[in-house]
Symmetry: C2
């Protein structure tokens, strides 16, 4: 049932026609939306999709709508040739790689927002980010119309928001979250890791270190978010190159802050290492 | 290819399963979203859908999200039995008649907005109306997944907004606008016409009368929106039971006000007759 080749298309119509052909043959379709510059985290999503579907579409689109005016849209790393090989090796069949103007006409006016879930955590320093994510994912789902869509747990807030959006708008797709993939020293894989100097790269391990300590604390019975947050902050602040954006303990569904850990929580942090903003988290 | 029976279902899953069965048989699906209390305007949409599709779904759902706090949500007329007969006679196969809680969970958080197009005309006196319309139509399209969706030209701004939303979000459906259906004396058909007393019912003809005069004016060469608007206002104000909400001449695509008529315009008015707000328009 699996195909050998990978095709790269730029046009919405080409994606639609290919997927419709597959569906007419009764094949299931998995979809992995990415901004490219793929790493082992993306690879794990594609591999998971490969296990669960007959055909895999990967989108590579650095979505301008989810970048703030001072963010790294222009410098965001791009390497289509390398990405194509990674996609093919992981089992993908089709890459959708549109230009901006294929996705956004000049007089584009429509936006999708998930209120509430998009207020805390990353939304504070990236206020328009999740509107951009929700809008582009809605568009991509309407273009690809897959059976299953795959996201990494690293972007935990994004995953929670997308799940809610899909439920609220009755989008006919299964949303699947996949575990964070890490470097050997524990740093969560991210396309932005290449921004780090050697020194910063070493300093960046502080995110996972601080979270691991916090996890042990919870495992040993600590229930107070304040205690946990302070412990994480203290650890991160011990690293001179690190500057905390946020450390939060929130309900894993509503993304609302919790004082005491009673049900499933997300412990999440965003930290600037030099100029590079990195995120990491765990669910307990 | 046509079926004889009409089925009424309340659950999203039932609609999905029925439509998927039809699609598996290669049948095309037309969809007419309504708030019920169907009149000849709706009938014309269903008939048009019947001409163009193998199967027809009509939704009957008084969408709370598109009503403002002081509007007529509770008193909006409802009559499912009568509606079912009208749907059946016009050729529909399935009525989707969900309860509020089937469409909106308690913790519903997601909204679709079309900025810009939703600022003038009806949006002034109904500020949250079009967000409600866009959100529910997105949901219904994801539930029904039809080939074609039908709207009346009476709600001209709604039609323009839906067309833009479908384009912007890459929703895979053809949006079809159908002409206004009128009573013998020219009053545009509306479920809200039943609110009118005998006296008000007569006064309500002033909307169409004023627009007809304006159309003649344009046909005779008048290009100034100001002149046209003043003529309409004067006519409406001659009717003591009428109170103008707005009279506007806008570009038929962007819904932006135009000073001089150069390309296709929408001439639209909303008028309170007693407590009942009625709308009417023509495209030139």
């Amino acid at each position: 049932m699996k195909e050998e080749n990978i095709r790269v298309v730029n046009r919405i119509e080409d994606v639609r026609n290919t997927v419709k052909e597959w569906k007419n043959q009764g094949l299931s379709v998995g979809f992995v939306p990415t901004m490219g510059y793929l790493h082992e985290g993306h690879q794990s999503l594609i591999k998971k999709a490969y296990e669960e579907n007959d055909r895999i579409v990967v989108s590579i689109f650095v979505n301008p709508m989810q970048f703030g005016p001072t963010e790294d849209l222009d410098t965001y790393p791009r390497d289509l040739e390398r990405d194509s090989k990674i996609c093919k090796d992981a089992g993908a069949n089709l890459i959708f790689h549109p230009e901006d103007k294929e996705m956004y006409k000049n007089d584009f006016l429509t936006f999708v927002d998930v209120n509430g879930l998009t207020e805390g955590l990353c939304a504070k320093s990236r206020p328009i980010h999740f509107r951009g994510v929700c809008t582009v994912v809605t568009k991509l789902l309407n273009i690809v119309y897959p059976d299953r869509i795959y996201f990494g747990q690293k972007d935990a807030q994004q995953l929670a928001i997308i799940k809610r959006m899909v439920r609220d708008l009755n989008i006919d797709v299964e949303v699947i979250g996949c575990p964070i993939v890490r470097e050997e020293d524990g740093l969560a894989r991210s396309s932005r890791n290449i921004y780090l100097s050697t020194e910063e790269r070493e300093a960046a391990t502080i995110l996972n270190k601080s979270l691991s300590k916090a996890k042990t604390l919870i495992e040993n019975g600590e229930k107070s978010s304040e205690v946990i947050i302070n412990q994480i902050k203290e650890t991160i602040n011990s690293e001179p190159l690190a500057r905390i954006d946020y450390v939060e303990v929130v309900d894993n569904l509503s993304m609302e802050k919790v004082k005491y850990i009673e049900k499933s929580v997300l412990v999440a942090t965003a930290v600037y290492i030099g100029k590079t903003r990195l995120i990491d988290n765990f669910i307990y």
